[in-house]
Amino acid sequence: MSDLLIQCTALTKAYGSKLALRDVNLSIGRGRIIGLLGPNGSGKTTLIKLLCGLLQPTRGTLLIDGQGVGVHSKSIISYLPDKMYFADWMKATDLFDLFADFYQDFDRTKAMEMCASLGVNPTDRIKSMSKGTKEKVQLVMVMSRKAQLYLLDEPIAGVDPAARDFILSTILTNYNEEGTVLISTHLISDIEKVLDEVIFLKEGQVMLHNSVDNIRESEGKSVDALFREVFRTIPIEGGNY
């Protein structure tokens, strides 16, 4: 087991001629809750997809738990995509079977309990569930694992503010405390109180990587306020709009 959970060196990803990530250097430890913050198109999803192996870097190196992305890294990462990944024919219990088969850290009892507390009937066909219920099932799948690294891509973007708190508390009460949680979002004020560290991404580059306490101490302001300052939209050619 390597000390650092994630190590990126000069990590770059290009889509054709467009650079989505530029020379990203990051070191992330264990047992942290980290906000991956940035406006739309800043490279948050690209970074997460590189970490879970859905994309290959154009340049640079990426180590997870001391190893390159592969079967080992995938077995310790629990990933919540911003997409629904279910096959039509499945019930939630079929997915539980699948997770139990492939991930040794999946806790089926916990999954059933979470379903009960979230009001999801795991024997319903997923096809017939509402969008919100499907999202809950996906969250249950991801949080029922005792993973080393949770990658949560915009888990609260599509839901109303009341449900946000509910989802956040589900994440916080269920994650493996020795593992690290990386949450990407642009809704900072909602999650600021739970974060240990933040990473600001802007146009594919890391603007800032610091602990929330340090930011409050040295800048004297909240992460939300700092975010607004860093990412203030500057009108082109100084126009006033």
Partner: protein
């Protein structure tokens, strides 16, 4: 891990075909009784025999279409669509994902062909007494020719399997290539399919220039041995083509995957 993947691919296949296969057999059975009866020429009895036959024919065509659509859809949706977010983050190797889809597709096709064959046997109203006469004669004739029937059946089955695998891998590689485009991915997949065909026939023509004189009858002393050798040669050639197609599909999915 491949075994676990197969378990889920077969489970999803079963959901699709659990109804279709018995339906085809049941319809064949219905037809057997309506066909074998000596019916008059009046409209009602014509209808009694024609309608089940039409239904049976449509079920057979439906089976071919469903098998093809299923093979394409399981790969496209399962590995290149949203389900890819689940499959490609499982702790397995990319080649295992492709192999699982392929094995499942080939097995499903073989079963479908067997069901169609069985349905035909049920449908055609010949009596089993006829069969008892025909089959031993057929076997005797073939044995006279010196063919080992068991080996022959294994060879034909193998050839059928590699040919099926080859046509499906052709589809897989086309979809993987089409997926490299940032838009119009389906249209690009169709173009890729045609492109692979063109490349394939160019390669064949290049090989033909060398003008291999493959006459197995010269090498082998018996006609049967030459026949077996020719079938094994064909299996080998198709298997090599399969390996090439598989290699490129795996390379693209491993190195250039970019799910939407």
């Amino acid at each position: 891990m491949l075994g676990k993947l197969l378990k889920y691919d077969f489970r999803s296949m079963w959901k699709q075909f659990a109804l279709l296969w018995p339906a085809a057999l049941a319809l064949a059975l219905v037809n057997r009784f309506t066909l074998s009866r000596d019916v008059g020429n009046d409209a009602v009895s014509t209808m009694v025999t024609t309608i089940p036959l039409l239904v049976f024919g449509s079920v057979m065509i439906a089976m071919v279409v469903i098998v093809l659509l299923y093979v394409i859809q399981r790969f496209y949706k399962g590995l290149l669509g949203d389900e890819g977010y689940l499959m490609h983050t499982l702790p397995v190797k990319t080649w295992q994902l492709i192999a699982s889809k392929l094995i499942c597709a080939v097995v499903m096709t073989i079963i479908s062909i067997a069901v169609a064959f069985l349905a035909f046997l049920i449908l055609v109203p010949f009596s089993f007494a006829d069969l008892q006469d025909v089959f031993p004669d057929l076997l005797r004739a073939l044995r006279l020719y010196g063919l080992d029937m068991l080996l022959f059946c294994v060879e034909i089955l193998l050839l059928l399997m590699v040919c099926t695998a080859q046509s499906y891998l052709h589809l897989y590689l086309s979809m993987a290539l089409g997926h490299l485009a940032s838009k119009h991915r389906v249209a690009m997949s169709v173009l890729a399919y045609i492109g692979i065909n063109v490349v394939g026939s160019i390669l064949l023509n290049v090989l033909a220039v060398f003008n291999f004189d493959l006459d197995f009858n010269i090498v082998f002393d018996s006609a049967a041995a030459a026949f077996h050798a020719a079938v094994w040669f064909a299996i080998g050639v198709v298997a090599v083509i399969c390996a090439v197609l598989f290699f490129f599909t795996n390379y693209i999915l491993k190195r250039n995957l970019n799910l939407e």
